[in-house]
Structures are given as C-alpha cells and as structure tokens.
Amino acid sequence: MTDMAWINGALTAARPQAIGALLRYFRDMDRAEEAFQDACLRALKSWPEKGPPRDPTAWLILVGRNAALDGVRKQSRTTALPPDEEISDLGDAESELAERLDGSHYRDDVLRLLFICCHPELPATQQIALALRIVSGLTVTQIARAFLVSDAAMEQRITRAKARIAKAEVPFETPGPAERAERVAAVAAMIYLLFNEGYSAGQDPARAPLCDEAIRLARLLLRLFQTEPEIMGLTALMLLQQARLKARFDPSGEVILLDDQDRSLWNANLISEGLALIDKAMRHNRPGPYQVQAAIAATHSRSPSAAETDWAGIDGLYLALERMQPSPVITLNRAVAVAKLHGPAAALAMIEPLEAQLSGYFHYFGARGAFLLQLGRKSEARQAFDRAIALANSPAEAAHIRQHLDRLMQQAE
C-alpha cells in the first residue's frame, strides 16, 4: 500500500517536469495537460496496489504519452499500445527514459513551461494565473479565490491566456545561453510577482499560500540553475520575508511593523536557509537587485532586536539598489534608513522631490506623515496620513495608519 498523501505529493512534485516533457512531445498545451491528467488518474489506480514506480516522473511522462497516443490510435482504429500496467512493471523503457530525463532536456523543459507562462503579451495577473494553473496545478477555483474573482471569470482568463500563447510562437528548440538567461530572468520576475500577490494579501487564507507556491517554484528554478546568484538571491529574499509571516499581524489582523515585531515568532528554519543562500550568492561577486534586497532582509534577520539594526548597512544596500535600478520607491525605502541614521529632517528632504512621482502611493504618504510627526509638524503629518488612508490598498493598511496616527499623536502631545 502506498500512502495517498505520498502519492499526491509525488504527483505535485512531478508536475512541472512531466508537463514540460509532454509539452515538448506534443507541442500543444492542452494535450500535454490532458495527458498528464490521464497519467495521474492511472497512477491513483495503480500505485496504491502495486507500489510507486522507482521514478514517478518518468512513469507519468511515459504513461501520459502512451495514453494520449492510445487515444489517437483508437480514433484511427489501429492497434493499441500495451496497457500501462505492463509499463509500470519497471520495464526497460522507464529506466531508459529516466536516464534521458536526467540530461539537459529536463532543465529546458521546465524552464520552457515556466517561460511560456510569462509570455510578454500576457498581462502580469494572467501570467501568474497561468503559472498557478499549469505549473503548480492549482484548481481554477483555488486561483479564482486568490484573485477575488468568480470561477467563471478566472476560467475565461486562463482560457484566453492559453489561446494567446497558442497563437504566439512558442520556442521549442533548445535555447542558447543568452536566451536561456533572458528566460530565467523573466521567470524570476513572474515568481516574485506571485510572491508579492500573496505577501500583500497578508493573512487572507486564500491568498497567503501564493507565497509558499512562489517559494516552491523558486527552489525548483534554483535546482535547475544552481550557479545563478540572482536566483539564490530571489529565493533568499522570499524565504527571509516569509519567515516573518507569523509576526506581521496581531491577533485582530492589524499590521505590525518590522520595528515592533516579536522576533521570536520569526521562522528560524526559513531564516537559516535564506542566510545560507545569500552566503553562497555573495561568493560569485555578481551582485544584482534580488541579492541586494535579500541582503537588506538578511540585515534585519541577523539583528537580535530592532534597536540593534545596522541602519548604516541598510542605507548602503539601498544606495547600491538605487544605482542598479533607479526608482522613487527605492529612494523612499532608503529614506527610512536615513531617518534612523540622520534624523527625520534629512529623510524628509530626501523624499520631498519624489511627491510628483509617488502621488498615488500609499507608503509615500505613510512615511511622509511619520517623518513630519517626528519633526513635530502635526497638522502637516495629519494631512499626509489622511492621504495615506485614502490610498490604502487594504483595510488592514488603512487601519494600521489610523492606529499609527492615534498612537503617534498621543506620544507627540
């Protein structure tokens, strides 16, 4: 007997590689998905009785491919292939296939599958929805719930995305090094987008698992591209942010800022994994935005208390990030470190030129309000906080500013 939970885990783990291989074979996303689905059904029937095959992924690919071919042959009234029970007896075919899968095909299959989901013609939300459906195997209902739309709307969104991809040129030839690097970068961006969807949702039970899924995909990508420091950085960044999940909200769901978080609630396992990955990435001397952001998160993780935070280090890292990808949001983040180092006046002077660009940005007015309040400019602070509340992306954000406002106003009395 094989444990059903084990089988489900094995099917999920095999999914990206199996669908990637079936897609290369059929060159058609729907057929690849159907073939995988078929193979999973057969696995659920056969594995509990016979025990799992030595290589579940190879089994699923072979059975999926044969089932699909079998269907075609039945339609054309030719001879059927042998039943998959025979294949599952660890025939030579399986080990041969497994060997072939160990090669470079495997890597490019999974990368292609992920890359298809981030086709530049697809808007970001469709990219994520497609990746969750095809690569992660979430149901349409699960994805619809995460994006707060109806099942029908999500079904339509995914169908449309697939149709768009079917029309576009999907590159099936083996990518060259430059192309591969481009694909890896596009996939990394999609994974981080997915993570942020979950992260910004806070504790929403339907959306929070998006973070776990993003980390799972990042680990998958990292196993495929073990020497890419930016993938190490991306994985570390998400692990270190996810480690703080339990500390980010109070029991009533209110946001708790980093400075006020109970650090004993941080997940030590995730932190140690994230720190080890940064350590590895640094050896390459090829810094990039994910690594720098991970290094910032790591500085917080390494600090035993908020008061002991190395703000000079964080300031320097934000400066490096600003140079890599200039953006008013990064400058705004740096201003928080500058406020800790040189006081609120310096920070305020730094962010004031950004107002035109960030006039619709919640965090800009939150930070501005906080700096003004520290300077004792209360009525201006109140104005900034009011604008922040109007721009809040979630009730929790608005509530946080309100609470923050009340508390700071009291302190400033």
Binding site: G9, A13, D212, I215, R216, R219, L220, L222, R223, Q226, T227, M232, T235, K246, N267, N269, S272, E273, A276, L277, D279, K280, R283
Partner: protein, 129 residues
C-alpha cells in the same frame, strides 16, 4: 558499536512544512530523542539545510554550487566544523582535500545541532572497525 543513521526525505516537502507541522514532527522526534538519551544511546544529531544551500568542492580547487550529485561515489564519512562563513568552510574543505585529493566535499550548512548527551561520551578517538 557506533552507528550513524542517515535520514532521507523529499526536501521540498519537508522545507515547505509550516512552523506548526515542523514543530509537531520535532516534538514527536524529541520524545524518541529523550528516551535514547536516558538509555545513553544518543550521540550528536543534526539537521541539515536543503541541498539548494549546498556547495561542493571537487579536486581541491573546483567549487561547484549545489549538492554532491554523482552516483559513482558513496558517502564515506563526514565532519562537523565550526567556522564563521562559507568561505571559511571551503578553506577547511580545501585542507582536507589536499590531504585526501580523490575525495569530494559537499559543504552543507547545519540547521540544528544537538550535542552528544551521553554521560560517558568518548573524549578520545575510538576506532570501531
């Protein structure tokens, strides 16, 4: 006789456990650990970070990201070292490699280290075989 028990599992599953799931497994394990400690049977135990955190040293100066991934060689022994960084760990591995050039060293960070709790834990080298 001294034995080492090597624990294998699907790392992406284990490292996706929530803190609660992880704590529950660790609590069940600690029941066994305590029993073994009382019986004087438990030496050092440790939990490793996943292979994505691993670095491998081959041939004394070739540093490869990722775990040791050959099937031709087998695990023949391990060291626990206490150094401040991956670079320092690699430096130690290089010294070992110079003394034993055909061996490959995978450097894997330890997530949890539980020291030897036996009352009469050996303080000197024991040659078992």
């Amino acid at each position: 006789m001294l034995y080492t028990l090597l624990c294998y599992n699907k790392e992406d599953v284990v490292w996706s456990w929530s803190k609660e799931e992880d704590d529950a497994v660790m609590a069940r394990l600690s029941v066994v650990h305590e029993k073994l400690v009382k019986e004087g049977k438990l030496g050092t135990s440790l939990r490793l970070l996943p292979t994505t955190a691993a670095t491998t040293l081959r041939g004394g100066d070739l540093v490869i990201d990722g775990p040791f991934a050959e099937t031709k060689e087998q695990l023949l022994g391990f060291y626990v070292i206490d150094v401040e960084s991956l670079d320092a760990a690699l430096a130690v591995a290089k010294q070992l490699s110079a003394a034993n050039p055909t061996s490959v060293y995978e450097i894997r960070p330890i997530a949890l280290y539980v020291p030897d709790a036996r009352p009469n834990a050996p303080t000197q080298m024991i040659k078992v075989y």
